[in-house]
């Protein structure tokens, strides 16, 4: 059932892209959140995508050999969210209420330009998967009307 699995595949990609868009929103929202120490400062978060064999997702990969359909079609899974390892930015602002004894305030390591490009990329990918789903739907509808 190939056409049916397209909905699962495109759906998993859409959900993965929406998580990515969520992390971008979180990063952008916190781009200027100051903290009193480097440890407390917000760090940019990114999801890690990996592909899952559709067959393994359905749980029946033992039933039919690995040469069949399942090992070719893969949906997307989020392996986890990682925090950026870039050093956080320390600024000398003695007047800031959160400043430490040296007058340092720590700002997140969020690169707003990078987040913007991430946002555009994920919304484009999302859009593309919506198109795929719509195309699969019309293909399926057409097949259902066969012989009529």
């Amino acid at each position: 059932m190939s056409l049916g699995s397209i909905f699962d595949i495109a759906g998993s990609a859409m959900s993965a892209q929406s998580v990515r868009l969520n992390t971008t929103a979180s990063n952008m929202a916190n781009a200027d959140s100051a903290a009193g120490s480097a440890e407390e400062a917000y760090r940019a978060r990114y999801p890690v995508f990996s592909s899952v064999q559709a067959q393994a997702l359905r749980g029946d990969f033992q039933a039919s050999g690995m040469t069949s359909m399942g090992d070719a079609e893969s949906s997307v899974r989020i392996d986890g969210i990682v925090e950026s390892a870039r050093p956080v930015e320390g600024r000398h602002e003695p007047g800031h209420p959160l400043a430490d004894e040296n007058g340092q305030v720590f700002y997140p390591n969020v690169d707003v330009v990078e987040e913007m490009s991430n946002m555009i990329s994920s919304s484009r990918s999302f859009q593309m998967n919506v198109d795929v789903m719509n195309a699969a739907r019309s293909m399926m509808q057409r097949v259902l009307s066969m012989g009529q």
């Binding site: 990996s50 990918s125 795929v132 293909m139």
Partner: protein
Amino acid sequence: MAISFDNALGIHEQALLVREQRSGLLAANIANSDTPGYKARDLDFRALLQDAFNGGALGAEITDARHIGTDSTAMPQALYRVPSQPSVDGNTVDAQLENAAFARNALEHQASFQFLNGKFTGLIKALKGE
């Protein structure tokens, strides 16, 4: 005199099946366009159709009684795409190319469907004797 559906429907039945399988594969490519290390895959339609012409089903050929047959819904061998612009993270999906291939495949699917549907309409006409 029995009607042989295999003869009546011709190649279109198998063509439609390959189109559907290919659409699933291309959808997976598009879905994984941002997954690091994912390799884009596609089917060689010409080779598959040639196989179907030569009498083989879309699957493994059975040349010995002990061979286990594959069902007709099994995916034929999918090949890896040669990337035109390889990326640093090992992903070989070219979103534009995949999107174009998917749209084209959807159209070709419609064409195969029209042919197949035409065969059915013809059969129904013959049965009714109109």
